[in-house]
Symmetry: C2
Subunit: 412 residues, 2 copies
């Protein structure tokens, strides 16, 4: 196992993939993958050292945790949920996860998969990660006990769920800073999964491109809202406590809640600036919590002053605001959000079909996610403009060591 | 007019938008836009000069030609075709194009549009360009004579055209290196167009992200094929001859052919490496024309040897290959390709729905594009794996000067 090196990203300026692979930080990268690199056609590792390419950056695959959870979110993601075929039994699951693990271990290191028919599309990993999730149906098929939280979320009053964006036995979260890399990896892995499972739904999302804004900038969603300010920081003790499970075959794993949230941008347009600030409880301009000082005097990471009141005695941060409703006094009710925007082709008289692929990771859905969502369901002014149209819960099993496969704690 | 500066890109290393705007290369950038920059919230021009951000890069809007034709293709594009509302007359067209030109002039320079409800999403232009195209219906509505080539292409035997990807009165080609920038610009402009026209179709495409591979690398499509090797180079005399029209209200403009080409990746997978090389007439590995020497001895930009034969006397570059069929002895039959990949959500048992948004620019569709397409329709082995499912032709009017608007040569 290569836990210590696992969280390290390799996108430091000046590093090339070759330098990384030959350097000291190789923990967790398979030797086979490293050798395979030199066989890859058009390898960008031949680029001059003076021009490091983001396409060459890799995130280690093997380790205590799967990549794609604590990995600084890449620009592009496709989330695919599959349904197992009727004849895929425990043995079939083992074979499927062996093959898909091998694909992911190679592709994430910029090496073509076995029998990859377009190997030239594999040579720019661009921080590719593949994260596997298991739905209740898969654990059942494995004839093992699922964590208590591995089930559909309770029905919320605001939900208008559509089956084509809900549920699923197997999740693939495939993310990279390059959309061609994502497309190739997704196709390659879905071809290899085809004998065992069929695509149930696909959701494509994006954030700012690599290099558009300064690293570490909190994302904005299509409402223009700064989204994710209160996230625990990967690498911290708090992050570990919030995210990683310690239970049985899930130890080192986590859970993923994937909710497709349609955002009614036309209706949002009818809300003025101040109304938007009040709904969110933060300034649209910079994401700072509302204060009694003028807009701009506060900063994004300021602690909200929940006791502050206006001159006429109303709370500065309204009781109906998203900030206040999402917040809990209970420190256990904390999640790690890793969302993507979506912007699909509109139908009818709309000019856009947009929203958020909400993805959160937490050790225990029931204890951490559901209480927050219950409060938001009861009252959150943002509900006026947002509608959950898809929902799914997956167990994200731990990472694996070289020679192992994702899910081996469940399937062996 | 700012013709000389028009083709210049500003993505040279070390430049920031502010440096660019204050520097000598400001030709074509409106003073209003430059001033507006300092009003933009969260302006990335405050980033330290040591960390130039690709998000800050701009492509000038005003000039003899519209941007987005000779602009080095950005990573993301959305092409939207609109149908004019019945009551949009010549006067309405003038108003519509005035408003949309103003939006594009601002947004491409990183400045929020007038009444932009998410101004924070406008501050990272990331080489945003907006290119307008006029379909036959729009020129008709303007009560002017269309160029003879401004009509649907002749029916080709390989076509399986679907109305939802064909035709249209107005084209917006919105492209940038950042997908959030594209989404915001598209929504902003479609809101402003809504009173005059309704969305007919939307196509989203991508290439390699900015920074994934070395600048100037020819794109690969989802077949893995190097795509666009024989393009004339922007800025050359050949490019000007191939692309820019000199006729009447179209002088300084061009034409766009937009064809949605579905690529059957499952069927392509059944073709071996050598079969792929033969179909294209180029090596998949590096895009070089086939030679009698071993794969790898040739380079992408080598001149094809059409007379070379194999040991048994067959042409090295097969007669049915795409390279040979697309090629013409007639130097007039030349186009400039600027395509995007698409990868949409599959339906049924497919694991992908992928293809190419083929976009070509040429001064005269009938003289340059149609003869090539006729030859490919008659015989091109690639037809086995590709199906045109959408087709549209647009007149791309010339650029405009500050104070003018796109289409002013047609509408005033």
């Amino acid at each position: 196992m290569a836990a210590p090196g696992k969280g390290a990203r390799t996108d430091r300026p000046g590093s090339t993939r070759r330098q990384f692979l030959l350097g000291g930080a190789v923990a967790g990268v398979g030797a086979a993958a490293a050798i395979g690199l030199d066989l890859a056609l058009d390898s960008p590792s031949t680029a001059p050292a003076s021009a490091p390419l983001n396409g060459d950056e890799t995130v280690p695959f093997f380790g205590a945790h799967q990549a794609g959870v604590d990995t600084d979110a890449q620009a592009h993601a496709v989330l695919v949920a599959l349904d197992l075929r009727d004849d895929t039994d425990r043995d079939g699951l083992r074979r499927m996860m062996g093959i898909l693990t091998d694909d992911a271990a190679r592709l994430t290191q910029g090496v073509a998969a076995l029998a990859d028919s377009e190997p030239e599309l594999a040579v720019s990993p661009a921080r590719l990660t593949v994260t596997f999730g298991f739905g209740p149906g898969l654990v059942d098929r494995a004839r093992r006990t699922a964590p208590a939280w591995l089930k559909p979320l309770p029905a919320f009053g605001i939900d208008r769920l559509r089956p084509e964006f809900s549920g699923g036995d197997l999740l693939l979260q495939i993310a990279a800073d390059d959309p061609l890399t994502v497309a190739h990896a997704a196709r390659m892995m879905l071809k290899d999964a085809r004998g065992f499972a069929a695509v149930r739904w696909t959701q494509r999302g994006f954030r700012r491109a690599h290099g558009t804004v300064k690293p570490g900038t909190t994302m904005r969603n299509l409402f223009g809202q700064v989204d994710g300010t209160t996230n625990p920081a990967p690498g911290t003790e708090e992050f570990a406590r919030v995210v990683w499970s310690e239970d049985g075959w899930m130890a080192g794993g986590t859970s993923a809640v994937v909710r497709r949230i349609h955002m009614d941008l036309d209706k949002w347009d009818r809300l003025d600036r101040s109304g938007r600030d009040q709904s969110v409880g933060r300034y649209m301009s910079n994401g700072a919590p509302l204060t009694s000082s003028p807009d701009g005097a506060a900063a994004e990471f300021d602690e909200p002053d929940l006791d502050a009141t206006t001159a006429v005695g109303f709370p500065v941060i309204p009781t109906f605001s998203h900030l206040r409703r999402a917040r809990s006094e209970d420190t256990a009710e904390k999640i790690f959000r890793r969302a993507y925007n979506y912007d699909d082709s509109p139908t009818g008289s709309e000019v856009s079909d947009s929203g958020l692929i909400f993805v959160s990771f937490q050790a225990d859905v029931d204890r951490q996610f559901t209480p927050i969502q219950r409060r938001l369901d009861e009252l959150d002014l943002l509900n006026e403009w947002t509608t959950p149209v898809g929902s799914a819960v997956f167990a994200i099993p731990p990472g694996c060591a070289e020679g192992g496969f994702i899910g081996d704690t469940l399937l062996t």
